[in-house]
Amino acid sequence: MKENILIIGGGAAGMEAATQLQKMGLTPIIIEKSETLGGHIAQWDRLFPAFHPAKDVVDKMLDQVKDVKTYLNTEVVDIQKDNNGFHAVLSNNEKIDAKAVILATGFDIFKAERKQEYGYGIYNNVMTSVELEKFFRTGKDERINNPKKIGFVHCVGARDVKVCNTYCSKVCCTTALKQACEIKEVFPDAEVYTFYMDLRMFGPGYEDLYLKTQKDFDVKCVRGRVCEVSEDMDGKLVIKAEDTLFGKPLKMTLDVLVLMCAMEKNKSIDAIQQKLGVANNNDGFMQNSDMYLGMNNTAQDGVFVAGACTAPKSLPDTIGEARSVATQVYNYINR
């Protein structure tokens, strides 16, 4: 029983699913469009809630898939289904036959330019959470120059009907607090503010992180959205926000403003997704067949989904889904 299983996407979900499928005696094949495996998580420095190095997790995952057939810098350009299964054509013109397909295509980061009022791409010192994470990883960013005052804006591109995204992006709250602590570690004298709507501390240890952020790191959490950002003569950022707990508007000058960009559906897979007959849900992510019992299944037989391609998900969520998709595929092959 050496059936091929085509996994599109070599991030956390794709790698973990491949690991499990291989243990089950199937032949997973990973197609990854970038030059390395690991996806977004490989770009991350440390993970919430316990500041665990992301590299540890990624390295373990990479080690597990070292024997899995993997195509890097490759995309699926065409895919057909017949009675024998799926027939995919890759961008290197290779053809692959598979019994099942797992879409593990993950997410894209919301383009912060779309919220022009926050000034990303206009004012130098406005950056995204992804760029800040890169700073933690590399220690280099021209914008971060011994800042005295730093602000974080939550929900950029999430829970915002004006950018057509009404969903919660799930992980940005905890990430913001994690990053707020980390920047405080690097610049202990800096004042750090976060501007939130709600703080959704949904997982184990997350609420503890929230308390720690305030008690140990003296980060100030302000309930209220930032409405405008402008630049003063010295190139510092002037933000206007509302503190809804005090019921007062506030104005503040900052050295750096970090935008907590939401997850959006990865649209580069749209054409293949359409060929496979998988629809999108209201949030623009892929539609699975049932929220509870069919979270890895789609309306199409033999096409499975795992990870953040169906909704914003944390790393533990994604790994859980990757393991469950493997079971689903196994059952499908042996039905």
């Binding site: 779309r114 009022e117 630049e231």
Partner: protein, 574 residues
């Protein structure tokens, strides 16, 4: 031909005519008596002022009889209206003229025929009582056939409106359907009666007229007599003040429910929303359905397109504003901060730039304007760089005039003390308020499209021409409200290639983001935006350019290509 001067079949017509004339007279007195005193004076004066009197005559013929505006939009519909209105008018006129060309008939003296009472019905049933002279007979038949040809088009339009280029039509109740049926049959009955002289058709003809005239006041056909009054009142310069009173009453009854505004309305992207169009609003308000008319008044985007394309230029947006103002909204605003703001000018300069709150949310526009003004070497200052007082428009839109006034006064003080001779605005919403509600004597008010155009034309700003294909979207408050159509287009032609949108200038489609609407949901707005973007993408431009921060933000959500403000486009080319 019968040598008598009376037959009972004329009675239904006489009855109907007497009713409708009485009704119109009472209505006329009611409208005029409800006008505010000053407006009434204006009205009487306008009737004897040569300029307005000439405009009256021109429009009474042009609009009521020839329907020039409908011709411009849709020649088939234009012909339909002209055929019926002008044809009918000519039949009445020629009928009366014929009375004086009568040959004496057997046993009846001409004088008796031309008497007061007979005069009332005689021309209508002329052929029954007397013989026409050949020339008149031809003219009468000609105009009768003209009317019937118009009615034929009306029947086709009813069966399949798309043939005559109308997508959506009004849905009518029983009364409107019945009177329409009466109108359609009057003239065929007349033709048959005249040609066959069968008594039954003379009766049918007369009864049809009775039905038509008795139902006229209670249906959309009331627009026929009211239109004339409305034209006179409008030329007198009377403005909308209260909903459902005086002048507005004349407007309400002048709306013929033709439904041209339905296809034009940006909300008509689906069936449900097309019920929010002005034609329905006017109908509901006329029928005193306050709940529905209030609902529509609050939903409307106030883009003004229906007013521009209305064959009668009925000011439906103004009526909607007056309807809104009749309801006190619970807005508790605190404007005490106005007192703390210092009005002492830090420096004085010729040009004062006011970005406005919407532009504060699109900092790219502000940055582009700064670059442009600096490059052009302008002596300028930024009025609201560190905080902004609202221009007052949102409060006005919700009918809160006192609150709006407080802001207007503070801003006026700030502007006057700045010593500027020119005020430049980036937001068309502000522009409208500054133009209409502020008294800034000696200060030229410009939107940045005009300002940039002037800088380019006077040579102060040198721009280079690229090969990007732009399409320009006319913001409602800049285009339809002030007819600033050419300046932005000339600027764009200087920096790139201008492509045309499907609907441009006065018929451009609202972006869907308008502050005018209080109640449209985001999904409904998105549908409107998508439709408007499609219209702009008609000639596959590389970039959509607009001149309003709100349009910019709205389009950016849905556009397949880059959306930029005209200031941004120019700042890239200097």
């Amino acid at each position: 031909m019968n040598s008598q001067i009376f037959h009972p079949f004329v009675l239904p017509f006489v009855l109907g005519m007497a009713f409708v004339l009485t009704y119109c007279l009472v209505g006329l007195i009611r409208v005029i008596s409800q006008l505010p005193k000053d407006d009434r004076k204006k009205f009487w004066r306008s009737l004897v002022t040569p300029k307005t009197a000439w405009a009256n005559i021109r429009d009474l013929f042009g609009d009521c009889l020839f329907h020039v505006k409908i011709w411009k939009r849709n020649p088939v519909l234009g012909y339909m209206h002209t055929a019926i209105a002008f044809g009918w008018f000519m039949i009445i006129v020629i009928g009366h003229v014929m009375l004086f060309t009568l040959k004496p008939l057997q046993g009846v003296e001409v004088e008796r025929l031309q008497g007061m009472f007979t005069n009332f019905y005689y021309p209508i049933f002329f052929k029954y009582f007397a013989e026409e002279t050949p020339v008149f007979a031809f003219l009468m038949d000609f105009f009768l056939l003209m009317i019937i040809s118009g009615i034929l088009i009306a029947v086709v339009k009813k069966i399949h409106s798309k043939i005559v280029g109308v997508k959506r039509v009004m849905h009518f109740g029983f009364a409107d359907s019945l009177i329409r049926f009466a109108l359609w049959t009057i003239f065929p009955f007349r033709l048959i009666a005249e040609k066959t002289n069968i008594m039954a058709f003379w009766w049918l003809y007369s009864i049809d007229l009775l039905i038509f005239m008795c139902m006229l006041p209670f249906t959309r056909y009331m627009h026929i007599p009211t239109e004339a009054l409305f034209i006179l009142l409008r030329h007198a310069g009377i403005k909308v003040t209260e909903p459902r009173k005086g002048y507005v009453l004349a407007e309400l009854y002048s709306c013929p429910s033709c439904g041209l505004c339905i296809d034009a309305c940006p909300m008509s992207v689906n069936d449900k929303m097309s019920g929010n169009t002005s034609a329905y609003f006017m109908k509901k308000l006329r029928n005193k359905d306050t709940e529905e008319s209030q609902r529509i008044a609050e939903t409307c985007l106030m883009c003004g397109k229906c007013v521009k394309i209305c064959p009668l230029s009925i000011e439906s947006c103004d009526i909607k504003f007056s309807q809104r103002a009749s309801i006190p909204y619970n807005i508790n605003s605190d404007h005490s901060y106005l007192n703390v703001i210092s009005t002492e000018a830090e420096k004085s300069s010729k040009v004062l730039y006011f970005a406005g709150c919407m532009t504060q949310l699109t900092p790219k526009i502000m940055r582009a304007m700064k670059q442009i003004m600096e490059k052009a070497g302008e002596d300028y200052q930024f009025m609201d760089e560190n905080g902004v007082i609202c221009c007052g428009r949102p409060m006005m839109l919700s009918g809160k005039t006192a609150e709006a006034k407080a802001m207007v006064e503070k801003n006026t003080e700030l502007i006057k003390k700045s010593g500027a001779t020119k005020l430049v605005l980036s937001c068309p919403i502000c522009y409208k308020v500054f133009k209409e509600e502020y008294h800034l004597e000696g200060i030229e008010i410009q939107h940045h499209t005009q300002y940039i155009d002037e800088l380019v034309k006077t040579g102060k700003l040198k721009v280079s021409k690229g090969d990007v294909n732009y399409v320009y979207h006319d913001p409602c408050e800049l285009g339809r409200a002030f007819e600033i159509y050419d300046e932005p287009r000339e600027v764009l032609e200087n920096v790139g290639n201008l492509r045309k949108a499907k609907s441009e200038k006065e018929i451009s489609i609202c972006c869907g983001g308008s502050l005018g609407s209080f109640t449209l949901t985001q999904q409904e707005r998105d549908e409107i935006t998508a439709n408007s973007v499609n219209d702009l993408m008609f000639n596959n431009p590389d970039e959509i350019v607009t001149a309003c921060p709100l349009c910019l933000k709205t389009f950016a959500r849905k556009s397949p290509v880059k959306v930029k403000d005209i200031a941004e486009v120019v700042s890239e080319k200097i």
